[in-house]
C-alpha cells in the first residue's frame, strides 16, 4: 500500500473515533451488579457491555447508511442516532422495572439535587443503598454517552471501509477497536459511574491519554490491512 497523506487522515479518523468511544463510556450510567439489585443508581449491567451493545447498534446503522451514500456527516449522524435509540429504549424499559416491579423512586446518591430537573435526591434514597433507578440526569448522560459511542464506531468504520472496501472486515476491525477503548475507559471508572455529574467523571483525562495510545497503535495496524477477503 502507499503511505500518503490520505493514510494519515485515516489514522487520525480512527484515533478520533477511539477517543469518542473512550470518553463516551464515561457518560453511560452503569451501576454494575449492585444496580441489578436496585442497590445503586444507574443501569444494572457492565460498562463495556452496554457501551458495546449501543455503539455497535450504531455501527449497524452507519454501515447501512454507508452502503447507500458516501456523505460522511450522514453516516456519522446515522451511527449516533442508531446508538441513541438502543440506549434510550434500554434505559426506558429499565425504568419500567424500577418503577413498577421493584417499586422504588429514582434517586442519585452523588448529588443533592438533580442538575436538570432540580428534584431533591437524598430523601428518595432507600436506606442501606446508594440510590436506585435512572433519574433524568443519568438518562440524558447515558444518551450522550451512547451517541458518542455510535459516533465513534461510525468514525472508525468509515476510513476502514475506504481503505479495504470490505464491509465485513471493516466491521470486525471496528468492533475490535471499539471494545479495546471501551475496556480501557471501564478500568478508569472502576466499573461503575452515574454520568457526567459523578465525581469519577473528572478522571477522564487519564482514559483520554490511554485510549489515544491504544487507538494510534490499533490504527497503524488497521490501515495496513487492505483486504484480500
Amino acid at each position: 500500500m502507499n503511505f500518503d497523506i490520505n493514510t494519515i487522515v485515516y489514522i487520525l479518523e480512527i484515533l478520533v473515533g477511539g477517543l469518542l468511544v473512550g470518553i463516551g463510556v464515561h457518560f453511560v450510567p452503569v451501576g454494575g451488579a449492585p444496580a441489578a439489585m436496585a442497590q445503586a443508581t444507574g443501569i444494572g449491567t457492565g460498562t463495556v457491555q452496554l457501551a458495546a451493545g449501543s455503539g455497535l447498534t450504531g455501527l449497524l446503522a452507519a454501515g447501512f447508511m454507508m452502503s447507500v451514500t458516501d456523505n460522511l456527516w450522514l453516516i456519522l449522524a446515522s451511527g449516533a442516532v442508531g446508538a441513541g435509540i438502543m440506549m434510550g429504549s434500554t434505559m426506558l424499559t429499565g425504568s419500567w422495572i424500577y418503577a413498577y416491579a421493584v417499586g422504588a423512586p429514582f434517586a442519585s446518591a452523588k448529588v443533592n439535587y438533580d442538575p436538570i430537573t432540580g428534584f431533591s435526591q437524598p430523601p428518595y434514597v432507600a436506606p442501606g443503598t446508594v440510590g436506585q433507578g435512572i433519574p433524568t440526569i443519568c438518562f440524558v448522560s447515558g444518551l450522550i454517552g451512547g451517541m458518542m459511542g455510535g459516533l465513534g464506531g461510525a468514525m472508525i468504520y468509515y476510513p476502514l471501509y475506504l481503505i479495504n472496501g470490505n464491509a465485513a472486515l471493516s466491521a470486525m476491525f471496528a468492533i475490535g477497536i471499539f471494545l479495546v477503548n471501551a475496556v480501557i475507559a471501564s478500568w478508569n471508572i472502576q466499573g461503575t459511574i452515574e454520568g457526567f455529574h459523578d465525581p469519577k467523571f473528572k478522571k477522564w483525562p487519564f482514559a483520554f491519554r490511554a485510549c489515544a495510545i491504544a487507538s494510534i497503535l490499533l490504527a497503524l495496524a488497521a490501515v495496513l490491512i487492505t483486504g484480500g477477503a
Binding site: T45, L60, S78, L92, I97
Partner: protein, 301 residues
C-alpha cells in the same frame, strides 16, 4: 416504502420482541449475569440453595456467541449446500442450543463443586430438568436473531452490507446488553429478595440472603422463570423490539438515498420522546411512593 418491506420490518420487530423475552428468561432460568453474584454469594454466607448457577460470561458476549453460531451455520448451509432458509435457520439455532447446553452444564458443575466447602451440593435432578429449559430458550433467541439477520441481508429492498454472522453477532451483543440491563433487575431486585420490605432496593446488609423456599417445597430456577415471565421478560422484549423496529422503521419509511436527513431527524425525535417518557415515570414514581420515612437529613423532599 412499500407494503412488503414494511411487513418485513414489522416481522423483525416481532421476532426481536420474542428474542428479547426468551433471552431474559434464559438468563433467569440459568441464573446468569449480575443477579447471579447473589446466588454465588448465598452459599458462602451459609445459604446453600437449589438454584441453577451458570455465569458462563456476561450476557452480551454469551448471546453474541449463540446468535453468531446460529447465523454462521445457517449461512453456510444456505450458501454452500443450497438448503431452504427456514431449515438452515432451524439447524443453526439447534447447533447454538447444543453449545449453550455444554457451557451451561460445565458452568453448573464447576461452580457448585467449587463451593463444596460451603456445603453447596451438585443436584443432578436440577441439571436434568433445568438444562433443557435453558437450551430451549437459547434456541428461541438464536433462531429469532438469525432470522432477523437473514431478513436484513437477503430480503429487505436495500440489503445490509454486513454478512449475516456479523449482524447476528451485533444483535446478540445488543440483546444481551438489554437483557442484562432490563430483565435482570426484575430477577435480582425483586424475585431473589422477596423477604425484604417492598419498595426499596436491596439493603447491603441482606446481601446473599436470597429466598430459598418456594410456595411448595424448595425454590428452584424454574420457579424463578415463572415469576420473571410476568414482567421482566416482556419488558426486555419491548426494549429489544423497540431498538430493532424503530431503528429499521425510520430507514424504511424514509428512503435512505434521498431522505437520509429525515430518517436521522426521526431518530432524534424518538430519542426526545423517550427522555420525556422517562421524566414522566420518574415524576409519577416520586409522587406515588414518596420519600423514605427513615430519612433524617435537611433536604426537603
Amino acid at each position: 416504502m412499500d407494503a412488503f418491506s414494511m411487513g418485513l420490518i414489522a416481522a423483525m420487530g416481532a421476532l426481536a420482541t420474542v428474542a428479547g423475552a426468551s433471552e431474559d428468561i434464559e438468563s433467569d432460568v440459568g441464573s446468569q449475569s449480575n443477579p447471579n453474584s447473589q446466588v454465588q454469594l448465598a452459599a458462602q454466607v451459609g445459604n446453600p440453595h437449589r438454584i441453577y448457577n451458570k455465569a458462563i460470561s456476561g450476557e452480551p458476549p454469551a448471546n453474541a456467541l449463540w446468535a453468531a453460531t446460529a447465523a454462521m451455520v445457517a449461512y453456510t448451509l444456505i450458501t454452500a449446500f443450497q438448503m431452504p432458509a427456514l431449515f438452515a435457520l432451524v439447524a443453526g439455532a439447534s447447533v447454538a442450543a447444543l453449545f449453550n447446553g455444554v457451557f451451561s452444564m460445565s458452568a453448573y458443575f464447576g461452580r457448585n463443586s467449587s463451593q463444596r466447602r460451603f456445603n453447596q451440593w451438585v443436584y443432578l435432578d436440577i441439571v436434568r430438568y433445568t438444562t433443557p429449559s435453558i437450551m430451549a430458550h437459547a434456541w428461541i433467541t438464536s433462531f429469532c436473531i438469525a432470522t432477523i439477520s437473514y431478513i436484513m441481508v437477503y430480503m429487505l429492498p436495500i440489503p445490509h452490507p454486513f454478512p449475516m454472522p456479523i449482524i447476528a453477532l451485533i444483535w446478540g451483543l445488543a440483546v444481551g446488553a438489554i437483557g442484562s440491563s432490563v430483565g435482570d433487575i426484575h430477577y435480582g431486585g425483586e424475585r431473589e429478595f422477596q423477604n425484604r420490605q417492598f419498595g426499596c432496593g436491596l439493603n447491603t446488609m441482606l446481601s446473599g440472603q436470597i429466598v430459598r423456599k418456594a410456595e411448595a417445597g424448595l425454590r428452584n430456577s424454574i420457579d424463578n422463570a415463572w415469576f420473571c415471565t410476568k414482567f421482566g421478560g416482556p419488558a426486555t422484549g419491548m426494549g429489544f423490539g423497540l431498538t430493532v423496529f424503530l431503528d429499521n422503521w425510520r430507514t424504511t419509511v424514509f428512503d435512505p438515498v434521498t431522505q437520509a436527513s429525515l430518517a436521522i431527524a426521526m431518530g432524534i425525535f424518538f430519542i426526545i420522546v423517550m427522555v420525556v417518557y422517562n421524566l414522566y415515570i420518574e415524576k409519577s414514581a416520586r409522587r406515588k411512593y414518596g420519600p423514605y420515612p427513615e430519612y433524617k437529613g435537611d433536604i426537603a423532599a
